[in-house]
Assembly symmetry: C2
Homo-oligomer: 734 residues x 2
């Protein structure tokens, strides 16, 4: 009997391992477009009634894409294929048969349902969704001024269904607050991806232009579903090969495939291309032969790619060629290219990341110093693309002082979706919180309330408001050939969140996470609520175990993975970033130090100059603080620092616990995968904690607070802290 009982237990255990039938298998390929069957009968029946048919006026590739998405999504969610019908141009809607109508506002019958303000407000990419009624017959309208607006609106409707919302009384007005919403792919032509941790480049240059993989289309669908409307296909550290005829023909095939989804293709342009490809003696932007070369090249590009978007340029930075090589300014370089693109409607995105690695100089000041004097000198089809912080995509930096400081220049934001400094695709870090933090930062440049969001939207000087103003945002993509696109299952949330913030910089990280979780995993609040909380806290957790209190750039320099406050390379020294010494730690960026504070609006400069008014999470960014000095935590600097590191590790352990309690609520594959990843993240959090605490202790010469257990060995005795080991190949439970 006992034996039988044992066997039953074994068998039950196996069953729970198999998790049969309960939740369907999911490898993550479908992202947030899973369209899971609606199991609530009432809701399903309501949707079945409301979406039994779809009517359109006219076909177009974009409208067909919308129809296809709607038919597929509706069928999967409610198990019924809607009837499709056409309404003759100019005719009224048939309330008897047309349940969902997808129509442009140039149809009088449609326009009549909306106000003039509504119709104008949504512009060229927005949409309106409205439930209307006639004789008790209900109907849903998706209306827009353009085809792409209809596609975006269709994805919105599908999202409402995926998140189990009622369609009874819809009245939605949506339009993007930024014009360019772009993914930057740092993809090399050989298929590798700089700072890519989710496989390799999506673009198969060998089989292009002949083969259009389904994956390209699914990429475009996913982007369109969140309103992304541009993709820079290749690395900012550019190869001129991408501008050759051969590659333009390949790129043209991708551009054509993306077009129905409203996505324009952009390329990075290496500044020295006229020399490398054109065999000119110079790439001087003021040289007539160079100007001519770019004009001809642009003409050729538009011959192959009529809807080409323009160039992204990294110039005179990190060894890249640029106008500086010829004594010219960034404006000279950007404007020359912009002039070539102008006749075709193309634009230039010129990066302000101009890292030169000057010894002794405060790197945080360099972008502002080079670009601020050029305000107003850039052509009107140039945008300056600035990272959120003045250094380089750190877990936390002060915001980039260029925002708000160049009122006569189009400024766009550069976020990094790929987790270069956030544990690659191994750590769960929801970047929605980061995007929100920076977009809502107040620059004070036009008084309080001059948020970066407003600066990006060019709403700072409302008198110059113009619906055609050139605004934008870019995110360095975290997408690769991994089956689930992003490596970490939660990496998808960062792609998704970027798109949502690009659409509206004042979005909420909270509600975006909620939508994403519901669409990607389940609507079960028993999963959504705790995991949303986990996501929303996750970025701060990573800051705690990596770079608390305003530390930055103390990672392993060779890989940007794992701790490295001791990293030292020719021309680069982590100590320039943390300034730990026998006295204290942190960079003095006040007037007594590098005076980087002076690059901010006076109100902010004053705030940052005073340790007491400096936000706690940036104190080491702006101040050198004595080890024994009491800070706002109520503890000494040293004890606070150590406590943050220990707290980060504990928080990851808590994340693991929460995740474990989700077992059975979602599919087994992703549950197990995230379980492994969190375990690894926990090991690596300890790696960061021990490495940093033990390293800084050499300077502080103070014991750890009593509640912090001493790591077992000195940091340099851990094999994984050796600088020549790129990856934590084997982290013991340190």
């Amino acid at each position: 009997m006992k034996q039988r009982l044992y066997k039953l237990v074994v068998i039950l255990a196996i069953f729970s391992i198999f998790n049969l039938g309960a939740v369907r298998a999911e490898n993550g390929y479908n992202l947030w477009l899973r369209y899971l069957p609606i199991e609530n009968v009432q809701l399903r029946q309501a949707y079945q009634r409301q979406l039994s048919s779809i009517a359109i006026y006219k076909h177009s590739p974009t409208i067909d894409a919308a129809l296809k998405e709607l038919i597929n999504g509706i069928n999967q969610m409610i198990g019924k294929v809607p009837n499709i019908s056409s309404i003759p141009g100019g005719a009224a809607i048939n309330f008897k048969t047309n349940r969902l109508v997808l129509a442009k506002l140039d149809q009088p019958a449609i326009a009549a349902q909306f106000s003039t303000v509504e119709r104008r407000q949504i512009g060229q990419e927005g949409y309106l969704i409205k439930t209307i009624r006639q004789n008790r017959v209900q109907q849903i309208l998706i209306a827009a001024n353009t085809d792409i607006g209809l596609l975006y609106g269709s994805f919105h409707l599908l999202k409402l269904m995926q998140t189990h919302q009622s369609l009874q009384a819809l009245n939605i007005q949506q339009w993007p607050r930024l014009k360019l919403r772009i993914l930057d792919h740092w993809d090399n032509l050989n298929g590798t991806v700089e700072r890519g941790y989710a496989g390799y480049s999506l673009w198969n240059w060998q089989t292009l232009p002949g083969i259009i993989q389904k994956r390209y289309i699914d990429y475009a669908r996913a982007n369109a579903s969140i309103g992304i409307n541009g993709a820079v296909l290749n690395n900012v550290n550019a190869s001129v090969k991408s501008l050759t005829r051969e590659y333009l023909i390949k790129t043209a095939a991708l551009a054509k495939a993306f077009k129905p989804y409203g996505i324009k293709v952009y390329l990075t342009a290496k500044f020295s291309a006229p020399k490398e490809l054109g065999h000119l003696k110079t790439a001087d932007p003021l040289d007539p032969a160079v100007i001519k070369w770019w004009q001809d090249k642009v003409k050729e590009i538009y011959h192959y790619i009529p809807n080409f978007g323009g160039f992204l340029v990294k110039a005179s930075s990190e060894g890249q060629p640029g106008p500086g090589d010829y004594g010219r300014t960034h404006a000279d370089g950007a404007n020359m290219m912009a002039a070539a693109l102008k006749p075709y409607g193309g634009i230039v995105m010129w990066r302000t990341f101009v890292y030169e690695n000057k010894k002794g100089a405060d790197r945080a000041k360099q972008g502002y110093e080079e670009f601020k004097p050029l305000d107003g000198k850039f052509a009107d089809n140039v945008l300056l693309q600035a990272k959120y912080g003045p250094i380089d995509f750190q877990p936390r930096e002060a915001f980039n002082p260029l925002f708000g400081a160049m009122p006569h220049t189009h400024m766009m934001m550069e976020f990094q979706i790929t987790q270069e400094y956030f544990g690659f695709a191994t750590h769960l870090v929801y970047l929605g919180s980061l995007f929100q933090e920076y977009l809502r930062k107040d620059t004070y440049q036009k008084g309080p309330g001059t948020t970066i969001a407003k600066v990006l939207e060019e709403r700072v000087n409302p008198e110059t408001a113009d619906s055609n103003r050139l605004t934008g945002i870019a995110g360095v993509a975290n997408i690769g050939t991994d089956v689930n696109w992003c490596g970490h299952p939660f990496g998808q949330a960062n792609w998704y969140a970027f798109g949502r913030f690009a659409w509206n910089p004042m979005s909420s990280a909270d509600s975006i996470a909620e939508d994403w979780l519901k669409m990607t995993f389940t609507n079960d609040p028993g999963f959504v609520n705790p995991i949303k909380k986990l996501m929303l806290g996750s970025r701060e957790v990573a800051v705690n175990y990596m770079t608390p209190l305003g530390l930055s750039h103390i990672m392993n320099f060779a890989t940007h993975y794992g701790p490295g406050p001791w990293s030292k390379f020719p021309g680069w020294d982590a100590r320039d970033y943390h300034h730990a010494d026998s006295v204290g730690i942190g960079l003095d960026r006040t007037a007594t130090g590098s005076d980087a504070v002076s690059q901010y609006a006076p109100a902010l400069a004053a705030k940052y100059s005073n340790l007491k008014t400096t936000p706690l999470n940036l104190i080491l960014w702006f101040h050198h603080i004595g080890w024994d000095q009491k800070i706002a935590t109520g503890e000494t600097m040293w004890n606070s620092l150590v406590h943050y590191y220990y707290k980060g590790v504990k928080q990851v352990a808590a994340m693991q616990q929460i995740w474990q309690s989700m077992k059975g609520k979602i599919d087994e594959d992703r549950f197990n995968y995230v379980t492994q990843l969190l375990k690894q993240q926990h090991l690596e959090a300890k790696w960061w904690r021990n490495g940093c605490v033990l390293y800084f202790q050499q300077y502080s010469k103070r014991p750890l607070p009593k509640d912090c257990k001493e790591p077992g060995k000195a940091y340099w005795n851990y094999p994984t802290f050796k600088p020549d080991l790129p990856f934590p190949y084997h982290l013991d439970d340190q």
Copy 2:
């Protein structure tokens, strides 16, 4: 009215594009393990009765893997989860409740159902499947001597269901004819794959050992389903890094994950490792320090990987270090490593591909010349791994004369599953036909009937037969990170076919193709029959448009892609391989030429020495033939050659037509993908045809036969024929 009709047509057209619901979407990730629902009600009900429960005696990781596969497969195919129960050790089967029983033959109740011969014959990896009856109650037994036999048997049962076979009266005895059935992954540690065309390496060395991706398990499942029991993880052009402790720990994690699926892990060993890693002054295989170094390294390997398989070695070939560097023989090198592995049961696979690129020498003779004299000199845990032909995986070569010529040496076959010379992952080429052709080749070494299959199985001298004899076969994998694993949807068939031929070298390419099509696409004979025919002809089609009549190695030398009979590189000249001149074309390998024929058994040497008795498909391999000479086709050499090229192109067009007629029979995604690929293959077949015909015409100086339309331009005027262009970036319809 007319307008309405038009609209209806448009709408219907859209519907057929969407192909709604008819066939479920499929991205190819599930390979041949799709377990599609059985739609035939009678069959489904029969399966439901026959498989309502599964009983086992004991759990083990391998048996749990089998159970999991059965439960999942059965549930997906018939919509019912079988009950699982345990039978106490020693107890009889319960005919009332146990429908399917999975049990080892050490259970007396199981053993009693089979003959002694059956039980012995299946050895350590085989299995028996039998339908038995008691009092009209039917039961299915899967029995084996080992757990892995039970897993293999479970996959066999699932295959029967996937191909809609009756389970009424099963009586199956299956066992592998070769002991080592291995995939060679030419994967570099940086993630690239040499000769890989389906993405990048599956092994994510960054996240190993912590993260075991689901993909690793699915890889193991797929391999186990076809009996593959070994994987060489890294490139034959090896990096010593794979032998470092860090990488051994990572490899150990993979080995552990693969173990339940019967897959052993092997590594390539760079011969110079004692110098590079051990900092010795030499890698001389007879040097005591070198011997010690390998002994220590092997000990370390087995510490981390207790079930490690052994080494694959490419030495003294194409610039790789080897025993030749120290005046030692291949046997000296292989035996030294073998001695280190011997105590742990490890083996050495030593490649006979020893290309040295000597000007003037007939490359086809080199392997035989180096290895034949060493017959009998290799340790008993060494296998020589020889490619099917003496040159290098060409579309067609004469078979490698080493097979059958080294009776006192373990010989294993090396096939190439990845299509290095077969149009990468762009051309549809079913290699089952090629595997079958070579495995059935008669070497005549022990009289007629000494097939390569027999040589590999060591059945040539039956008196030495021994169930422990070391036999094997290897295939260079075509697997990468592409969602569908193999790039071309039909590339999966080559992985599948390799496994099936490895299990039994006398398998039939025809029935393997049929099984694969049914499991991968559909059981619909309207699809299976024509597409099987298309597959079976496809390799010959590629030979026709690439290298007909025994031509070889005339591809673009830089990429091995596209035509290049004009290719010339330092130390390599395509003309050495085709010998086209004003007189004729082809290599004289008879006694008047290189005398390579003398490396074959006398009967074959005589046959190949005479043009009249040389198989038509090898005449240019063995003979230099005058342009105007009549050959077995009934036409002149020149006209025959041209006609083959034109025929190849026409055949691809016919393949396209057949494929088009399959529309609607399978899922839209793969249908469209193959449609694009065949279109590209057709363009590239013309590229080959035009390039080769126009190039050889410079020598023949004869017009094309009248029924062959002259290509538009001379070959060198096609941009795609320029040697510096690696890929056919834009093939016009030439």
